[in-house]
Amino acid sequence: MIFSTAYSIALNDRAALERLGPALSAAPYNAPPQAPVVAIKPRTCWRGQGAATPLPEDLSAVEIAPTLGLLFATDCGPGVSPSAAIGAACLALDVGEPGGDFYRPAIRQRCRDGFLPLGDFGPWAEALAKVEIVTCIDGQEAHRWSLTRLIRPVDRLVRDLSDFMTLRAGDLLLVGLPDDAPIARAGQSITVSASGLPTLSTRIEAQA
């Protein structure tokens, strides 16, 4: 599967804004976010279903943020219906260094090679906009969240983004990251599952 650009939306979990609260009005942010907070995951991040997720030698653990990925089938600019433009969906793990802030683009923290394992794609269905995503580490449930936590649900998010940028056919959009994303270490096996989509599996593999 060849994509164009993979976008990932930060600070779209209600829990994140509740946790950060007054800090969002203090330096360096000075005001809560208005537009969606957008990051890009470059192509060197992408890994297909079953492939290992590399743990760089300078990190002892990674944050694995389970989310929903939307693949656009047609260009989605102002006035286009999001549901008509979305062609497929998958489960995804947006991997990054644990912690960190949101002031500057987190390229070193979130764009290491292999930091975006993706499940196989299934058809897009409206029900996925509120799906519950369950993450297991070594067979034990480690995290569970529902996309009902999103500040901007799928339809609103796509509309707000396409107000100022076209989501192009072939682009992938990760709709939001849970504030309480689990931490994973070398050797651990991860599965991410949700009703209506193929399960994503990967293993955290220490780099030599």
């Binding site: 650009t5 360096p28 969606p36 060197t44 002031y103 987190a106 070193r108 290491r112 100022f164």
Partner: protein, 250 residues
């Protein structure tokens, strides 16, 4: 050699530019006159596009930041942002603080991981010119410079072509300039970059793999001048290219 991507005969074609710049020679023979060409961004599908903020000390001071950032300010761009030579860039009606930024662009030629600065330029295959417009009203302090400023459709003119790295020589000895309707509003030299092209490649490849076709927009010198709809904006890097763009109302 200079290579341009154009629209010709119902498809995208990479043409080579004649020495005098007047003709775009087509693969398999024939040519298109340069002044009749439909120029496209000289960008490879899927390429990762890096851009640098605050990579010239004079521009950093102009914006009220420290001359040198503790870590380089790198952001990524989607391909929706690109528009080719002689293209149009939309200016929203409320964007009173939209300004051009002339930048040297380095194109990666081979897989690059943990390369040393002294070896890094061997991984550059070509250079081009970009004009990475910013709209200051839309700045927010989340992943700044945020997408509403730097990821808008057609706000990054790029081209007109790729110039082979061997034909450019030292990338830290090039003059940059921006002219709005003929008036020079930005001029500088790549000698003033805080992190050089080689330094940027060493920095990025220290933590991730750069791939052929990936592009690094290396930042812009001082000179913030706002544009209006109808303006013609010409960004030029000596020995690389002269990129023409028109601002249009949207």
């Amino acid at each position: 050699m200079r290579r341009a991507q154009i629209f010709h005969g119902g498809r995208l074609v990479w043409a080579t530019v004649s020495d005098d710049g007047a003709a775009l020679n087509l693969p398999g023979g024939g040519y298109v006159a340069a002044d009749a060409a439909a120029w496209l961004p000289p960008v490879t599908a899927g390429a990762t596009v890096f851009a640098l903020g605050l990579n010239y000390a004079d521009h950093s001071r102009e914006l009220g930041f420290a001359a040198k950032q503790a870590t380089p300010l790198v952001f990524l761009k989607g391909h929706n942002t690109f528009v080719g030579h002689q293209g149009a860039t939309p200016r929203p009606a409320d964007a009173d603080q939209m300004h051009p930024e002339c930048e040297l662009v380095a194109v990666i030629g081979r897989p690059t991981r943990k390369v040393r600065e002294e070896d890094a330029l061997r991984h550059v295959s070509a250079y081009t010119v970009a004009n990475d417009y910013a709209i200051r009203e839309y700045l927010e302090n989340y992943y700044r410079p945020n997408a509403r400023v730097k990821n808008r459709d057609a706000t990054t003119p790029i081209g007109p072509w790729l110039v082979d790295a061997a034909d450019v020589g030292d990338p830290q000895a090039l003059k940059l300039s921006t002219r709005i309707n003929g008036e020079e509003v930005q001029h500088g030299t790549t000698a003033d970059m805080i992190l050089s092209v080689a330094g940027l490649i060493a920095h990025l490849s220290d933590f991730m793999t750069l791939m052929p076709g990936d592009m690094i927009l290396t930042g812009t010198p001082h000179g913030v001048r706002f544009v209006a709809a109808g303006d013609e904006v010409v960004t030029e890097v000596s020995g690389v290219g002269r990129l023409v763009n028109r601002v249009v109302a949207s």
